[in-house]
């Protein structure tokens, strides 16, 4: 149930750590697993010493960047066709570009299986696990 102002963890190696949802793309409802959102990068990874200046070579995004992302985990329960339900302990996303390709090259963390039905096979193949 992600909407305007929701904060999500970013679990790829694009350099973003925490992003804030500013829009759900293509629908008027809240976003769930597999939905595309527009977000603002609020915190960078390894940016503990100071905000903007400490961007290493690995980071592809900076604090304040507006990017698209795909939701991969939600705290809200997601019901599947067979009646089973999955729920994660956090909300997480993976940054993508406008074409839909992931910005990072790795994903560390589990992603929801709903990505398969929503045709995010690239993200699924990058993920170490899916539940």
């Amino acid at each position: 149930m992600l909407q305007l102002k929701s904060m999500l963890n970013c679990i790829d190696n694009s350099g973003a750590a925490i992003v804030e949802c500013v829009m759900v793309v293509g629908q008027k409802r809240h976003a769930s697993i597999g939905d595309r959102i527009v977000c603002v990068v609020q915190k960078q990874k390894g940016a503990s010493e100071s905000g903007m200046t400490a961007s290493s070579n690995a980071t592809k995004v900076k604090r304040g960047d507006i990017r698209h992302a795909v939701v991969v985990r939600t705290k809200q329960k997601v019901t599947r066709r067979d009646g089973s339900v999955v729920r994660f302990d956090d909300n997480a996303c993976v940054l993508i570009n406008k074409a839909g390709d992931p910005i990072g090259t790795r994903i560390n963390g589990i992603v929801g299986q709903e990505l398969r039905t929503k045709k995010w096979s690239k993200i699924l193949s990058m993920a170490p696990m899916q539940a």
Binding site: R87, F88, I110, P128, A131
Partner: protein
């Protein structure tokens, strides 16, 4: 009399209206005039003039009323010979049995012909209970999901279990319907040492009580199963309450 202030009484303001009512309480000599009791009209048994319920019944061609008092059937003169038959006639037929439990039982029988799934979650000594670590194998392949059972929702064919685990340091919870055909097997990995004193262990979501990952428990269980299997012969796990092994 006090008609005008009565009409202007503010709505929804209980205190004010109570105060007004107190002020307007009529003295004893006016009580008769203020009373709202209408004089009694001798009831004729006829329906009132308005036609709220003046519908003509299609079958009987009589006026149907929601307030109708149906006449008692005239008493049948009882003879001693007719008494026995009358007693028989007055015994009402037994009401039809509640169809829902029957439907439930039939569905369970269809989805679980061997009765193993039912047996695993009925309240017996050997059944799986809340707090046990269970592993659910999915028919469509993929990793079997293991986790500590936080809750069992017993609801006939809808019976479901809630498993919680940590996968790559993120808590994951799954509800599984036990009679789901996609659930190929449910196995008890580890029993809780002591019976849980709650029906739902949702407190185990808190970091203080969280079990964390059960991967090591599953690993140890698999090892023991392998040892037992190699000793006892092909694929006869003793500790596991499996339904369908691959």
């Amino acid at each position: 009399m006090n008609a005008a202030p009565l009409a202007r009484r503010p709505l929804g303001c209980l205190k004010a209206s109570l105060r007004q009512a107190r002020q307007q309480r009529a003295p004893a000599f006016l009580a008769r005039q203020l009373s709202t009791v209408t004089p009694k009209v001798p009831s004729t048994g006829a329906l009132p003039e308005h036609n709220f319920f003046r519908m003509i019944d299609k079958k009987t061609k009589k006026t149907r009323s929601a307030f109708a008092i149906y006449a008692q059937p005239p008493p049948v003169p009882v003879t001693t010979a007719a008494k026995a038959t009358a007693a028989k006639a007055t015994v009402l037929p037994a009401p039809p049995p509640d169809p829902m439990p029957l439907l439930d039982a039939e569905q369970i029988k269809r989805m679980d012909p061997t009765g193993a799934r039912t047996a695993l979650f009925t309240k017996t000594r050997y059944a799986a209970r809340v707090g046990d670590v269970l592993q659910v194998t999915h028919r469509r392949g993929g990793e079997p999901f293991a986790g500590v059972c936080l809750a069992i929702r017993r609801n006939g064919i809808d019976t479901a279990i809630l498993l919680r685990n940590h996968l790559s340091k993120v808590g994951v919870e799954m509800w599984y319907k036990i009679y789901n055909r996609n659930v190929a097997g449910i196995e008890i990995v580890k029993r809780r040492a002591k019976r849980a004193r709650r029906a739902k262990l949702t407190y185990m979501r808190q970091p203080k009580h969280d079990m964390g990952s059960v991967a090591d428990l599953v690993f140890a269980w698999k090892k023991t199963r392998k040892v037992i299997g190699s000793r006892a012969g092909a694929g006869k796990g003793v500790q596991a309450v499996g339904k369908k092994r691959k």
